[in-house]
Symmetry: C2
DNA sequence: TTCCTTGCAAATACTTTGCAGACTG
DNA sequence: CAGTCTGCAAAGTATTTGCAAGGAA
């Protein structure tokens, strides 16, 4: 686990290194898909880590602030998911609308398009979402 | 208002043409930005159209099924918005994170990329979301 | 010992569902 | 008149907040 990054970020913001923060970060690091708050909660329960769902929400919020975790919102899911940001390329996802499987996309074609949008709209672009849905190979 | 399309779609699915369905469709047609359920509800109240928020939700659901209205989910907004689909090009949006203004983007660069994703992931892509946030000219 | 963090309960925001009465065709 | 639609109340789901007890430094 990236314990060093966690410790450093927490100390820098006057926060404490706790069992639950380490557990949530550790789980996200060893899970290949983005997890929802409930999934984090349930998985930690299975692993006999005592944690409240409220604490999961508060923890992912802190981890987001520290820049260790990204929050993603998939198409029509109605819940947020969280994944490790640390050491990973900026990327997007595709989700199977049948079985819910989520696969990373390793390309982001939006750098050029962002420039174009900025010149057309006079906005300063800060961020974007790009998520796909479809059917995975097994569900077709 | 596209009363013809509404009537036709409703009849084809064994539904009735009602005052509230016409009112919601009419409002969406004459509003340039996508509206949330609450905004539709409040605007119709202002116009002295009696309607319940629940009915707004049920109505946009029907209009979506008929293909007259699209549901969009902007970045971190936590609520759905609805806009007229009928007669408009497929497009995306940019929202100002300061004042909430929403502007249409008239380009969608994803046709080629969809092919690429399909060949890389073996998914069959059905749909995508692409939404930008930033600062509008007035809020910069 | 300080004061940050957690758990529990409760509140909030958005959306959906159940049911009886109202309305369309 | 039959069957759909609406309003009202209530439930459901995701997330946030308040507060007192527990824990890190």
């Amino acid at each position: 686990m990236n314990a060093a990054g966690l410790k450093k970020g927490l100390k820098a913001t006057g926060r404490r290194v706790t069992r639950t923060r380490q557990a949530v970060l550790g789980l996200l690091e060893r899970t290949p898909q983005p997890l929802s708050a409930t999934e984090i909660f349930e998985q930690l329960q299975k692993e006999n880590v005592a944690i409240d769902l409220v604490t999961v929400y508060r923890t992912v919020h802190v981890l987001k602030e520290l820049g260790l975790v990204a929050q993603i919102e998939l198409h029509h899911e109605g819940q947020a998911r969280y994944e490790i940001k640390e050491g990973r390329e900026h990327h997007h996802h595709i989700q199977c609308q049948m079985c819910g499987a989520i696969v990373d996309l390793l390309l982001c074609p939006l750098k050029k398009i962002t420039k174009l949008i900025e010149s057309q709209t006079k906005f300063v672009v800060d961020d974007h979402t790009l998520e796909f849905t479809g059917l995975c190979p097994r569900c077709q």
